[in-house]
Amino acid sequence: MPHPPYLSPGYRSTVLRAPSQPPVAFKADPDAIELSSPVFGHQEVGSLDADLTRQHEGEPIGERIIVTGRVLDSGGRPVRGTLVEVWQANAAGRYAHAGDQHPAPLDPNFTGAGRCLTDDEGRYRFVTIKPGAYPWRNHPNAWRPAHIHFSVFGTAFTQRLVTQMYFPGDPLMPFDPIMQSIPDEAARRRLVSSYAHDVTEPEWALGYTFDVVLGRTPVES
């Protein structure tokens, strides 16, 4: 099981929110609605939605980056036309969210939310700025490593995945109870993006790659 257990006491918020009973394993009939997923229209997603650096009048402060990768099922097949949503803190580690109390500056030119549909190879691509680390109140001196939140749909509602992408070499990863809630080290490594020089654009932006593999592939018909 690559996923973290619901109850991971090092991450305090799990203590009262983790289900105490295991999920009920259920062999769905082929008509079960969970085996399908919404189909997105290309007109529903704007062409600028995937560029988080061009959503305001000016350019955001920070290190401009390109994040790209493929969404695949566990059989290695591309998941085409599926919705990928991302959100993140700004370069200073502050979210454009009313609930974020971290005393770091907001950036008037950065909201930190984007979305796109995957292409025929399952590929997505975002232009953004590298998010900053930020403190949280889980335990004394708690800091989240820099991360980008990802939400991916897939072809079945059972495949629905929300996760976080981390950056290679971030020294905060071993201290982070959210990332460390994943028991298997190889599984944790799959959440770390790779620096990709062939994605890097000269005089413009550094490139990172991050593939997403969705589980619970529905029964083949």
Partner: protein
């Protein structure tokens, strides 16, 4: 070929500027004949409301109204709703073709989403019939005319049945 699956992580507390979208909770337009309201609260193991959960409702087909846009006059098969400070959510939706709707819940403190079913009435059903009466009752909404109430209890007494396929 079997690729190892990408692990899940919590949605965290700060999705509010990213995942909700205009009229996301309205799967059908206001005043549409046959529309129902599905509402309820998300509660934690202490019975306290979860004010930072995100719920997704899926009817099983995409429909004509749009998934992210709400332009059409017909039905959308998908909706989203973030809970309010009292932990309450609300959807305006069409009745599903079958007996149940699919509901997925994300929250800070949930390292992986939980997936459940909302049955609009108790009836013979392959899933329901395999559950003891107390657990079975957690999947059946209480209905009054066109408004259905369905609470999600993440943990403890009355814990909602969550599903693994």
């Amino acid at each position: 070929m079997t690729l190892p699956v990408t692990p899940s992580q919590t949605v965290g507390p700060f999705f509010g500027h990213a995942l909700p979208y205009p009229r996301d909770w309205e799967l059908v337009p206001e005043g549409r004949p046959g529309a129902i309201t599905l509402t309820g609260r998300v509660l934690d193991g202490a019975g306290e409301p979860v004010p930072d959960a995100l719920l997704e409702l899926w009817l099983g087909r995409t429909g004509e109204r749009g998934v992210l846009t709400r332009d059409g006059e017909g039905v959308s098969g998908f909706g989203r709703c973030a809970t309010d400070p009292e932990g309450r959510y609300r959807f305006r939706t069409a009745r599903p073709d079958g007996p149940y709707l699919s509901l997925q819940i994300f929250a800070r403190g949930l390292l992986r989403s939980v997936l459940t079913r909302v049955y609009l009435e108790d009836r013979p059903d392959p899933l329901l019939d395999g559950l003891d009466p107390v657990r079975r009752a957690t999947l059946v909404a209480s209905g009054k005319e066109d408004t259905y109430e369905f609470d999600v209890r993440l943990q403890g007494e009355g814990e909602t049945v969550f599903l693994d396929f």
